[in-house]
């Protein structure tokens, strides 16, 4: 399959600290890739760089044949990348239904939205998504009445609504109960059947439930990459994870 995302020599520096150290990374179309690594490995920073939150210090990001390095977030989105934040990030004062509605794939220009009507097909699509994330019963409620887990699922629903080519999911199971985590993992597994997904995840149970291929980041570099079992038996990875690294 063709490469969808290509990251080349990506370097990120914040107040003198090197967070990402000329990282090379690529993702094939249709892949579900899990990004793991200890705290400070640069996982979230990588996501921020791809999604346009921060500009990289050096290096290039290519997505679907376009060089999207340094694009603003809305332009990155337009090229087909949607991002889920670590902390649930939904429109709290809007109803659950409207949250999904404003996220639907479609034109984003000011005057286009002015005359846009909610078509029957669109409404069906919204209901479909709400059923999928099991929030249809709460469609009319304001999003600030949702629980933590429900907000995470709503945000997942919003990402699905925007129908991207690549979903960036940053620790979607943070702060969830075991049951909720399983449910989330199942959702992600099903999303991945039709989308390319890049997932940051700490919880090894979740990783085991869904992972096909894993990339391990450490100190801003790629430490290992491959199928989960293979990577987890890699002595270097074990060192990093069990704390027998150079810090001892």
């Amino acid at each position: 399959m063709a490469l969808l995302l290509e990251v080349e020599g990506l370097t990120a520096k914040v107040s003198g600290y090197t967070i990402l150290d000329s990282l090379d990374f690529s993702l094939e179309e249709g892949e579900l890739r899990v990004l793991v690594g200890p705290n400070g490995a640069g996982k979230t920073t990588l996501m921020s760089m791809i999604s346009g939150q921060f500009k990289p210090y050096a290096g290039a990001i290519r997505f679907a044949g376009q060089n999207i390095t340094g694009w603003p977030p809305d332009a990155v989105f337009q090229s087909g990348i949607s991002r889920k934040f670590q902390v649930p990030n939904v429109y709290e004062t809007l109803s659950v239904f409207n949250n999904v509605m404003v996220s639907l794939k479609g034109r984003r220009k000011v005057f286009a939205t002015l005359f846009q009507k909610l078509g029957g097909e669109e409404a069906d699509r919204i209901w479909e998504i709400l059923e999928f994330v099991e929030l249809a019963d709460k469609a009319n409620e304001s999003a600030d009445t949702l629980s933590h887990g429900e907000r995470q699922w709503l945000e997942l629903g919003m990402l699905i609504a925007s129908d991207p080519r690549l979903l960036l999911l940053d620790e979607p199971t943070t702060g969830m109960t075991e049951d909720d985590k399983r449910k989330t993992a199942e959702l992600i597994r099903r999303i991945a059947q039709s989308h390319t997904v890049l997932l940051v995840e700490h919880d090894m149970h979740v990783v085991r439930q869904i992972a096909r291929k894993v990339t391990v980041l450490h100190m801003g570099r790629r430490l290992a990459e491959g199928p989960l079992s293979e990577v987890m038996s890699d002595p270097m990875v074990r060192e990093v994870y069990l704390g027998k690294g150079k810090f001892q």
Binding site: I19, N39, G40, A41, G42, K43, T44, S48, Q53, F54, P72, P73, D74, F77, Q78, S82, F85, Q86, V87, N89, V90, Y91, E92, T93, L94, S95, F97, N98, N99, M101, V102, S103, R108, K109, V110, T113, L114, F115, Q116, L118, E121, A123, R125, W127, E128, E131, F132, A136, A139, N140, S142, D144, I160, S162, D163, R190, I191, Q193, S194, H195
Partner: protein, 395 residues
Amino acid sequence: MSGIALADAITKKPVRRVRRTPMLPRWALIGGAGVVALIGSYPYYGSNGYMLSLLGKFLCYAVFALSIDLIWGFTGILSLGQAVYFGVGAYFVAVSLKLNYTLTHPTRYGGKIPDFMEWNGLTAVPSFMAPLMSLPFAIVCALVVPTLLALLFGVITFKRHIYGVYCAVITLAESLILQDFIIEYQAYTGGFNGITDYSNYVGAAFLWFILGVTAVFFLTGRVLTHSRLGTVLKSIGDNDVRAEFMGYNVANYRIFVFCVSAFMAGAAGAMYAAWVGLVSFLDTGPVYSVEAVIWTAVGGRGTIIGPFVGAFLVKGAEFFLSGTLAEWWQILVGGLFIFVVLVLRDGIVGTIANWVRRRSAGSFRQIAQEADRKAHDRQRDWQAEGATRHGEEAR
């Protein structure tokens, strides 16, 4: 629609309905028509000229408050210089009317130029002001110039993620500088005294005109805020970072609504100048802007009827009470600021709407808590750079 595997979700699909408020609910149309009829018929049943002039004024105030509600209530931009747009609109029309008035009513010294020009040693209308002799041109200016100014301001600030407190402070300064200009260049603006003594339009016909414009603006406001665009605006006011990562060019939306709002403010100013027959530098100042913010807050920001209710209530109270209360009226106004911020956060209309909406669902306590949380969430933004505000700490 890409074929995500949703087959099982579709098969067990029960009947689902969205609770949507109609864009123009019948009760609002009937109520609105009632208010229009009540105000519009005043010249035929009321004989009090003072009341009549107040009604026209209040309508202009209501439009001005609506313009603030669109940016502050719906999109979360607080401008303390909204009166700049009102004042620019008002001055264009006032200057035009004054120039035309002096053609037929020479000053004491026989000059056919406005008195304030004569006092400052001008002998003829300066060439750059001559086009304003044409009232239609002046009206176009009164509508277009505020909109362009707002566009310029928006491009400078919103494109760089400057809003919140910074935006408030900059608009405040902008407004003060315009006041300085008006006072300093009194030969062209009338300075401290403002522009007065011209034939203004008071009467049933012009009242109906103002009423019509007001009605159109309020309908526009309702349609705008209940369209998809309105939902996007609300989502931006709510969580601009999410909106940006969902592909919305947040700055463009802010600029658009800011321009619409400036257009309405300019129109309100133009009608005000024609109706009242007096425009002064106070009509462009921050004090006036903030006053209008409070009308909006009292009526209920984020609602369309709120600004109307607020403007009529607060201004009405001012006209009837400030005489008897003298200084104490000012203290009351100051207290009102604190009251709407601490207690009546959703304003009168918003509180009633919440109550109606939740009457069956929850207790007053829950309503209060919810209102509290909403107000809390509505304005977390005070940092200049918004793009990374909610973004988690990157490592």
